[in-house]
């Protein structure tokens, strides 16, 4: 007996809510630094702020030991440009990302990442995560450095991407945060930021939240607040019955961190950016099937008759050997690798792939479906490092994939894993299980974030952004360690001289009334799931691939309608549902910012995947700029900012100089 239905049929009763519920209880917690979100970036921010002597409280919607997109492990670490084997400098790597994104990326944040990603990884090693082949399992492999015992991924020439045994990364950093005395508050859904005088645009002095097990209200007062939350995976698509096992977003991915900043008057940027919904799995468990992307990079893909699909470099030169798939081609100094938080690559930085015209070749009969991957064609080292090291340590692979498939009898020494059978366009990208071919044509939010300076400070005093999703220029796994760690230090410096946080009682009381309006079930209302689906429908329809001023304004109107009707009379049965409903409220805020930002950009833009039907010209030069957006007294304000604002006054003109000034470090030269 494992599920609720079995319990009810056997016991003949409905089980009582297992936690004591008290919607009237108010808890107040005071600290120097409050971290909102306990994923990788949040825990790293909490650790570095605590190391700097600050009293730190961390509030997480789930449980900080396992939560967040990176909570389920990691098999490779990007941007470790300062590791002793790397042949790529932080400047080169940063330029590669910035140029690939045609300037639509916070390159200052990327520079900070590449300066500190390796240091962040060394700390993980110190705390108990394995990053070296100390057992000499891969001795003599071409992806191993014999002296340091580091293993490299994707680009064996340049050695800036490391393979790591990170299945336990989250418990490791969680224990360190505990050891340093961080006050970790789990199961807290943050609902708002507190601001000085309760006004938009003033200093942030803490936050409010609700415990999703007890229903109790929390007031956090802090001199500095760090936003380290994730994206808004539930905003554009909400079909949890089908998509719960998506790669990067769990159910708590509701854009809460963006939403509370928007309400507090902080400036956000590139909220108009969208993209095709590739990774939110509509069908296949991440990493569960034959493919040659990401963790499976380089593996031979063969068709039903055993015929192997050739590999090419970014310029379509054929690559003859398996080893060559991990090497730079002519015209490339280094490859960036995928999964680093950018959505476009210039060919000179792009990695090798199976032939780029695979769908056409299948259509013409050159290959017969289904495809398989044949690990037996790889060397023993390559096979073991792929199935056993990478699949075995990557997020959501140790138990869900490695253990599940091995227990079921799969043996990479003997067997070929089948790829999905799908619409041919699905084979365009080598990461077949994440192909969007068998899914509805969905869109998703694409990377809008807080506008941050060289301290990762937002436009509001006392408010910092630390994660891949919330800091403009952030990335994925290793990047979140680096930015979290950096933001924690800067916030700790700020609180040394910051005045005590004084919260506004009126603001707190109004928020409390808002949060608990749904617990009174006398309004014939609906619950959070149906409301979430309605929000996603509005976003798909009115903020999808094609937009114009009318449809965007209609979408805004409908979001506000949902807030005033369905959300206003919504009801919940317990604190869990209350938390999910409050997340729906954040989703509406997130959607509003996206639509307002989309209205402000009166030009189509290919890098932002932004298509205005009333401004059809693509990439007009005069719109090559950022349009930060915020609320002032509830009115929407946008301004213009150059793409490279972080190298313009008041900042210095080089990455190195800014980094040195803001970290107090010696120059590296």
């Amino acid at each position: 007996m494992s599920i609720w239905h079995e319990y009810v049929q056997k016991e003949g009763t409905v089980p009582e809510w297992p936690y004591a519920v008290n919607y009237d209880k108010v808890n107040e917690i005071i600290s120097d630094v409050l971290v909102v979100g306990g994923g990788l970036a949040g825990v790293r921010a909490a650790i570095s702020a605590a190391q700097a002597g600050a009293r730190v409280v961390l509030a997480d919607a789930g449980h900080a030991k396992r939560s967040g997109s990176g909570g389920a492990g990691v098999d490779h670490w990007h941007g470790a440009c300062t590791n002793p084997c790397s042949k790529v400098t932080p400047e080169e790597y940063t330029k590669g990302c910035y140029d690939s994104m045609h300037g639509y990326m916070g390159a200052h944040v990327r520079y900070i990442i590449t300066r500190e990603s390796w240091d962040s990884l060394l700390e993980c090693e110190k705390w108990g995560m394995r990053i070296r082949d100390v057992e000499d399992e891969f001795k003599g492999a071409e992806f191993r450095d014999e002296e340091t015992k580091l293993l490299f991924a994707y680009d064996y020439d340049n050695r800036h991407i490391l393979r790591v045994w990170g299945y336990n990364v989250k418990p490791v950093i969680y224990r360190e945060a505990q050891r340093l005395g961080v006050n970790i508050q789990n199961r807290i859904c943050i609902t708002s930021l507190l601001t000085e005088g309760g006004k938009q645009g003033t200093r942030v002095v803490g936050a409010t939240g609700v415990n999703t097990r007890t229903g109790e209200f929390y007031i956090f007062r802090a001199k500095a607040t760090i936003i380290a939350t994730g994206g808004a995976g539930r905003l554009f698509q909400f079909v949890p019955e089908l998509t719960a096992s998506s790669s990067m977003s769990d159910m708590s991915s509701a854009g809460v961190g963006h939403a509370i900043g928007w309400k507090a008057g902080a400036e956000l940027v590139l909220m108009e950016k969208t993209g095709p919904a590739t990774l939110s799995g509509f069908g296949y468990a991440p990493y569960s099937m034959g493919n040659a992307g990401n963790t499976y990079h380089g593996v031979p893909v063969i068709d039903a008759n055993g015929k192997e699909v050739p590999w090419v470099d970014a310029f379509n030169h054929t690559i003859e050997t398996i080893e060559g798939r991990f090497r730079c081609g002519p015209g490339q100094k280094f490859q960036l690798g995928i999964g680093i938080g950018i959505s476009n690559y210039l060919p000179e930085y792009q990695q090798n792939d199976p032939v780029h015209d695979l769908p056409d070749r299948i259509r013409k009969g050159e290959f017969v479906l289904p495809f398989y991957i044949d690990l037996t064609r790889m060397s023993e080292h390559e096979r073991r490092v792929l199935w056993g090291m990478m699949v075995g340590n990557e997020g959501k692979t140790r138990i869900p994939i490695y253990e599940t498939l091995n227990k079921a009898g799969f043996d990479p020494d003997k067997d070929m894993l089948q790829a999905p059978v799908m619409t041919l366009e699905g084979y365009l990208s080598s990461c077949f299980w994440a192909a969007r071919a068998n899914t509805p044509p969905h869109y998703r939010a694409g990377g809008g974030a807080y506008l941050v300076d060289w301290d990762l400070k937002t436009s509001l005093e006392g408010l910092y952004a630390a994660s891949g999703s919330t800091a403009y220029g952030g990335g994925c796994h290793g990047e979140s360690h680096a930015t979290g760690r950096y933001a924690g230090k800067r916030a700790a410096e700020f609180v040394r001289t910051a005045p005590d946080p004084v919260a506004d009682p009126g603001q707190i009381e109004a928020e409390r009334r808002r949060v608990y309006s749904s617990v009174h079930q006398d309004k014939d209302g609906i619950g959070w799931k149906e409301i979430n689906q309605a929000i996603a429908r509005v976003m798909q329809d009115y903020c999808g691939k094609y937009k114009n001023e009318r449809t965007l304004n209609m979408g805004l109107r409908l979001l506000r309608e949902i807030r005033e009707t369905e959300l206003a009379c919504a009801c919940v049965s317990n604190p869990h549902e209350l938390g999910r409903l409050m997340e729906c409220s954040s989703l509406i805020d997130f959607g509003e910012v996206m639509m307002c930002a989309s209205l402000a950009r009166k030009a189509s833009n290919s890098i932002l995947d932004f298509h205005r039907l009333d401004y059809r010209e693509m990439d007009p030069q005069e719109w090559n700029k950022l349009l930060p957006i915020k609320q002032v007294n509830s009115e929407i304000k946008t301004r213009e900012l150059p793409l490279d604002y972080f190298l313009k006054a008041p900042f210095a003109s080089t990455y190195e100089e800014n980094y040195t000034v803001h970290t107090g470090k010696e120059t590296s030269k």
């Binding site: 719960a244 296949y284 997020g395 138990i399 253990e403 227990k407 799969f410």
Partner: protein
């Protein structure tokens, strides 16, 4: 046939997400404590396995299994639509296998690297 039948809603999809082995599970609720999306609830009866209350919120991260002090107490069960997608072919014999099949091949007990 005296057993009562109760009014319950249709089971949510996916139905299970996890299975607990009551002979192995201690009912310590370590999995309940750490689940990032709070899918599980403690059993009203102390010492009994937790109850899967919100299977459609499961992220299939495996954190519960890793956290569990008793090997084999929790088994992750992918949704049926994903189980039937995990197929493989034995190179030597051409036999076809899948996760969840009736007569599975012998398990591969090789532990992950590290």
């Amino acid at each position: 046939m005296s057993k009562k039948i109760y009014m319950v809603p249709n089971p949510p999809t996916p139905n299970r997400a996890l299975a607990f082995d009551p002979d192995v599970c201690l009912g310590c609720n370590s999995c309940v404590d750490v689940c990032p999306t709070d899918v599980l609830m403690p059993n009203p009866e102390t010492g009994k396995p937790p109850i899967v209350l919100y299977p459609e919120e499961c992220w299939y991260c495996g954190g519960c299994v890793e956290e569990c002090p008793c090997t084999g107490a929790i088994t992750m069960i992918h949704p049926a639509s994903q189980r039937i997608s995990m197929n493989w072919k034995r190179k030597s014999s051409g036999e076809l296998f899948r996760v969840g099949m009736k007569n599975p091949p012998a398990p591969n007990n090789k532990p992950p690297s590290g």
